[in-house]
């Protein structure tokens, strides 16, 4: 067991602002900068070196940790890339590194054992990340299966094994987890050697923490999950004044009424993915969200952040444009609040109809109803955990074989996440037919202006935009519209 002495500096000026959390078994109180990455803290302050540095941009998973929070007396754990997690975001939480998953003595936990037995570790550098992700799966899963276990490691990259041995290990683990007693998850996981026994004491210990939210910094740069800001400004962040948005996450980050869905600023991509009313309303909803980044990134990356970041290929922006999302922008300094349509937010490359002081407080959209059809398409070099060359979403209402409403958006072919106003308008009122789609393609080409970059040449993006627009209809209406009739 690693013994860690809490950092107590002689100068306690900032004591009231100290960040407090449990790291594995140890209570941490630290006055390190709240913008310090959890990764740097774990490795270089706590000297827990099992958490590895692979890329520092959330793309390899070698630094994966679990972050546990108390919700209604129950612990909920999620995997997260510690390289993109500000220390401030783990205040009041339980942080678990691979060391915190080790059982006492010589025994291995179930995930470790499966990885060893299947020779699923070669150089070993990515391995702790896989172990942590798999243990996170064991903690979270309700109904285990091999596909789910593999899904839990979709953010972990291995350069040695070719993954097949890891897949076999994950499959074994899932088999064992089928017997999980969800009603008594923690004790079951401990007794079945998935976790060390100190986990059962964590809820009690965490509830005793002075978990009051502390105002750590009053900066101007809002930071949510950090999944973009740490990638873009890794070296500058330690000197930046930040406003930590994700820390005030309410118990319900997504609210539903009969017809609409409201996301708070803290809602993550995972929250969106797991929202049952959306899965019920939109066939394939979870699969669409699975195309967005990876599990640990979806767990921490916020929807609001994806919108505000204004990347021309932001997946969530593209989806939300199609569903006609509206934003509530708040300027706390002026005590003003206004609502705007998302399709009016983007003015030019990274230029928004939003003052720097305005924060996205809420995102609201109508849940697709019966007769409406939603599809999301994304093509990149790698299907998962990659940034799109082109992505596009479509929401259409079809009544009596006629398109009555249409909203189509597209990314990667304009300086902004593009709402295809003309193309959408063109579709409305026309029959649902290959002919309509073919005609709409001509309109589409007038609305896009791709440039060549590392994600593809302009020629490719023109072609891909056309293909994916067609794919919406081929996927949604396979009986009516066939690929052969479009191309």
């Amino acid at each position: 067991m690693h013994i860690f002495v809490p950092l107590r500096h002689a100068n306690r000026r900032w004591f009231s602002d100290m960040i407090q959390f449990i790291l594995n078994q140890t209570l941490i109180e630290t006055n390190k900068p709240p913008g310090l990455t959890l990764l740097d803290f774990v490795r270089y302050e706590a000297h827990l070196c099992g958490t590895k540095i692979g890329c520092r941009e959330g793309d390899c998973g070698a630094c994966t940790v679990l972050i546990g929070a108390l919700h209604g007396g129950e612990m909920q754990y999620q995997s997260a890339t510690s390289c993109l997690t500000p220390l401030a975001n783990v205040h009041g939480r339980h942080v678990v590194t691979v060391e915190g998953l080790n059982l006492p003595g010589k025994r291995l936990n179930r995930a470790q054992e499966a990885m060893v037995q299947h020779s699923a570790t070669q150089c070993g550098f990515c391995t702790p990340g896989f172990v942590v992700s798999l243990c996170g799966y064991a903690l979270n899963v309700q109904k285990a299966d091999a596909a789910g276990a593999v899904g839990a490691i979709d953010g972990n990259i291995c350069r040695c094994t070719g993954y097949k041995s890891i897949e076999r290990a994950a499959g074994d683990l899932a088999l064992h987890l089928e017997k999980k007693d969800a009603a008594h998850a923690l004790p079951w996981l401990v007794s079945e050697r998935f976790l060390p026994d100190y986990f059962t004491g964590i809820p009690e210990r965490l509830s005793q923490l002075n978990n009051k939210d502390r105002k750590l910094h009053s900066g101007h740069t809002p930071i949510g999950g950090g999944t973009d800001l740490y990638v873009q400004k890794h070296h500058e962040i330690p000197d930046m004044e930040l406003q930590f948005m994700a820390r005030q996450k309410p118990a319900d980050a997504i609210l539903f009424d009969e017809n609409s869905c409201t996301l708070t600023a803290q809602a993550t991509a995972t929250d969106l993915m797991e929202a049952a009313p959306l899965s019920e309303a939109v066939p394939g909803w979870r699969q669409f969200l699975k195309l967005v980044s990876s599990t640990p990134i979806r767990n921490i990356g916020t929807v609001a952040g994806n919108i505000a970041n204004a990347s021309p290929i932001g997946d969530l922006s593209i989806m939300l444009l199609a569903v006609g999302a509206r934003l509530t922008l708040v300027d706390e300094s002026l005590s003003t609040e206004r609502e705007i349509a998302l399709d009016g937010l983007y003015l030019d490359y990274k230029k928004l109809d939003k003052t720097p002081a305005e924060i996205i407080r809420r995102i609201r959209f109508d849940i697709p109803r019966k007769g409406q059809f939603f599809n999301f398409e994304k093509v990149c070099k790698r299907q998962y955990l990659d940034i799109a060359s082109v992505n596009t979403a479509l929401l259409v209402t079809v009544e009596n074989e006629k398109i009555t409403t249409a909203r189509c958006s597209i990314g990667g072919v304009a300086p902004i996440p593009k709402y295809l106003r003309e193309t959408s308008r063109f579709l409305e009122g026309r029959s649902l037919s290959a002919e309509t789609v073919r005609q709409a393609l001509a309109v589409l080409q007038t609305e896009i202006s791709p440039i060549s970059d590392v994600r593809g040449t302009a020629e490719y993006k023109h072609l891909l935009a056309k293909q994916l627009f067609c794919a919406h209809f081929v996927e949604l209406f396979p009986q009516t519209i066939k690929m052969e009739d479009l191309l």
Binding site: K52, M115, V116, S119
Partner: protein
């Protein structure tokens, strides 16, 4: 036997370079470069950066006490650029400070003025300009000029194959500490501790005995840390010497990707001639290797391209030429396969093209030309114990090639949106460093008086399982349990003058040296046992001394203690040099390889012809392991190598712009396979053979060969595209990214790929 490191790996307890506990006062170093690929530096302003609190020193070429030179094969690469910068990412100097954060702040304060010089990134352009790393080389057998007249079919073409970023998950790093007498100890994440030692000595102006290099393990190497770990280790050592204190240098991923070389991109011109029985009669190929701005290992890589220009085929008339072209890219370097895959790619492309034009399957041409015993290679080696035809036949039969072929054809007839493609990929890969003098190794073995054993060799563990194999060799050679054997770090004080762990030869060379050492120890121990038992026929099995085939009273521990008490040495340094191999560069003929590794793989892909994306249904392999000493380790090498090869052929696209700036400079822009992009099914079967005497315990080298099964991915995709768009005139330009796939799917028959 499971990898001996596995349990520590899964617990997060294995120590990599950046995990070494730091000494008090450790400083951190960051190399800096200029945002240009080719320029004359007119001035460098370091004062502002030097004045930043926490900066200990900024070192440039002027601070080097010895030679400003790190070139491994040719002395053409300075540690720090002097006067001119030759690639974007070339270190100009080193910032040393109290923290990495301060280093990076200081880097932003450095200003430089420079005059831009013309940038060349295209190898053909460099060759035209006469910018070559070394003189071109040509391998010849038979007479191609005279052979064309015997050919029923002649085809010419061009190919391009891109580079590949190693993407070892652990970036480069080194940690240097001074010792009291001015000697320096460097922990380095290197595949070649001796190269680091030799170069540190040269740059720091120290004799080699004052430089100790220690390597515990690497978080992946793949060739990327064979030669290119050296510069970073030298910088750390230079800073430690300069400041007389401990200095650590660990590259951030973006620095690592920008500053280090990759697998060499190649272009090629080819001409292939076949007779009416599809036998390849003549093969001419000219390779243009994109070496980057300095030699690094390019000359040796180029040599292996020539060695493997005919892959697993016997061709009586061959003329293969290669140019190593000097461009303004980071010096390209070793990467699993070491030029071999690029050499094979061209002939496979030529066969695919010939098959398409003649109207047969590529497999028919491949099969008609596979090597047999007694065939002479263009480099003069007469092939023996050839397994090209046996692995092919086993693969066809075991995986029902004909049935699979029919299913693919039926699928394509029934489907419009999705098309399947299939490719067979035979491989033949020569084992040995092609530079004969490098094929030797040493192993130091101590048996302690309690019977425990420690082994040091020149092999570096980087996930390939060499240490596990060494434990097996020692345990088997000494007749003891593997639990008694510990493998120590790779250290230049314990084992000197080593070759890098590379060329798939780490287990063979170091294992054989270990066998030599163990055999000498056994001889001495047996003498002790013979005297003690009064028996002339003794052996050790399962830690018991056997006398005349029967267990005696004497166990391993007593025997060892007895030997120690009788003043018998329990330490031995074994040496091994691969026998039989030789190569005469003046004639380009010889017997350069101890043996060859063979195998055949069948790849099936499904292409989504609407989106231009693809998934691999299956790869079925029959591989020539020899007599595998550790199937768990070896299977991992096959699966991992295969997937790395598929990545190279599909997703992995190294992109530089015309100014020589790396665009694919992060994991967000350079994509290696994730768990979802690997084939749904990978089946690997072993060809049953007796193994090869020059392979350790008859278990053949396994590191590099499987990467080349990945070539099949490219040609399977090509076949699927042709099923959708039969008339298209397709270029050969790997990798087949989704972009190229979509453009080829919708290419009009008249236009050739751009």
């Amino acid at each position: 036997m499971i990898n001996i490191d596995a349990e520590n790996h899964v617990r997060g307890r294995s120590v990599y370079l950046d995990d070494i506990p730091e000494l008090q006062g450790t400083l951190y170093a960051l190399p800096f470069d200029l945002p240009t690929a080719h320029a004359h530096i007119t001035s460098l302003h370091l004062d502002k950066a030097r004045a930043l609190p926490g900066v200990a020193a900024i070192l440039t070429a002027a601070d080097i006490p010895g030679e400003n030179q790190i070139g491994g094969i040719l002395p053409d690469e300075p540690l720090f650029a002097e006067g001119e910068v030759h690639f974007w990412g070339q270190p100009v100097g080193l910032i040393v400070a109290d923290s990495d954060h301060i280093c990076r702040k200081a880097a932003r304060l450095i200003e430089a003025e420079y005059e831009a010089l013309p940038v060349v990134t295209d190898p053909r352009e460099a060759q035209q300009l006469g910018r070559l790393i070394c003189p071109p080389r040509t391998f010849v057998i038979g007479d191609t000029a005279g052979a064309w007249s015997q050919c029923a079919h002649i085809f010419e073409g061009q190919t391009a194959v891109n580079g590949q970023e190693h993407l070892y998950i652990e970036a480069h790093g080194a940690y240097a500490r001074m010792k009291e007498d001015g000697s320096v100890i460097i922990s380095s994440s290197t595949q070649g501790p001796t190269a680091v030692q030799r170069t540190v000595a040269k740059v720091l102006d120290l004799p080699m005995h004052k430089v100790e290099v220690d390597t515990v393990r690497l978080g992946g190497g793949f060739g990327g840390k064979e030669d290119q770990a050296t510069g970073w280790a030298v910088m750390a050592a230079l800073a430690a010497q300069h400041l007389q204190g401990p200095v650590k240098l660990v590259l951030h991923r973006l620095d690592d990707m920008r500053m280090t070389g990759k697998r060499h991109p190649y272009e090629a011109d080819f001409k292939i001639g076949l007779d009416e029985h599809l036998r390849i009669i003549a093969w001419e190929v000219t390779h243009y290797q994109n070496a980057g701005a300095a030699a690094d290992l390019s000359t040796a890589v180029m040599e292996r391209t020539l060695f493997h220009s005919t892959n697993a085929y016997h061709i009586p008339n061959v003329r293969a030429t290669a140019y190593s072209c000097k461009t303004n890219l980071p010096p390209n370097t070793a990467f699993r396969g070491f030029g071999g895959p690029q050499g094979k790619f061209v002939i496979e492309a030529a066969i695919a093209l010939a098959a398409e034009r003649i109207g047969v399957s590529a497999a028919e041409i491949q099969q008609a030309n596979l090597l047999r015993d007694g065939d002479e290679m263009p480099y003069g080696q007469i092939m023996q114990q050839t397994q090209a035809r046996s692995t092919w036949a086993a693969c066809m039969e075991r995986y029902n090639y004909t049935g699979q072929r029919e299913r693919v054809q039926a699928f394509n007839e029934q489907n419009t949106r999705y098309k399947k493609g299939m490719a067979v990929q035979p491989i033949c890969f020569g084992i040995s460093f092609t530079n004969t003098m490098m094929n030797h190794a040493r192993a130091l073995v101590h048996i302690y008086q309690d019977g425990s054993v420690v082994v040091s060799t020149g092999a570096v563990e980087m996930g390939q399982g060499v240490n596990t194999k060494l434990v097996q060799v020692a345990a088997q050679s000494l007749g003891i349990s593997p639990g008694r054997v510990r493998i120590e770090s790779t250290n230049t004080l314990r084992v000197a003058n080593t070759s890098p762990t590379a060329a798939s030869a780490g287990a063979d060379l170091n294992g054989k040296a270990l066998q030599t050492a163990c055999a000498a120890l056994m001889e001495r121990l047996k003498k002790v046992a013979e005297a003690a038992l009064g028996h002339s026929d003794v052996a050790i099995q399962n830690e018991v001394v056997m006398a005349g085939g029967k267990p005696s009273e004497l166990g391993w521990e007593q025997l060892v203690l007895m030997a120690h008490q009788q003043r018998v040495s329990l330490s031995e340094n074994g040496h091994y040099a691969t026998p039989l191999i030789h190569f005469d560069k003046s004639k380009e003929k010889g017997h350069p390889f101890a043996y060859h590794v063979y195998g055949t793989a069948i790849t099936i892909v499904t292409v989504d012809c609407l989106r231009g994306t693809y998934t691999f249904d299956s790869v079925d392999v029959v591989h020539d392991f020899g007599n595998s000493m550790n199937m768990a380790v070896d299977l991992g090498q096959i699966e991992g190598g295969l997937v790395q090869g598929i990545g190279w052929m599909t997703l992995e696209e190294v992109a530089y712009n015309a100014q020589g700036r790396l665009l694919s400079n992060a994991l967000s822009t350079y994509k290696i396979p994730d768990i979802y992009s690997v084939p749904k099914s990978i089946r690997i079967a072993s060809l049953e053979t007796e193994g090869h005497d020059l392979a350790i315990l008859k278990s053949k080298a396994v590191g590099e060969p499987p990467l080349m099964y990945g070539l099949g991915a490219y040609f399977a995709i090509r076949e699927a595209i042709r099923a959708f768009n039969p008339g298209a005139d397709l270029k050969v330009d790997a990798p087949y990214t989704p972009e190229k796939v979509l453009l080829d799917l919708y290419r009009s028959p008249s236009s050739q790929g751009t």
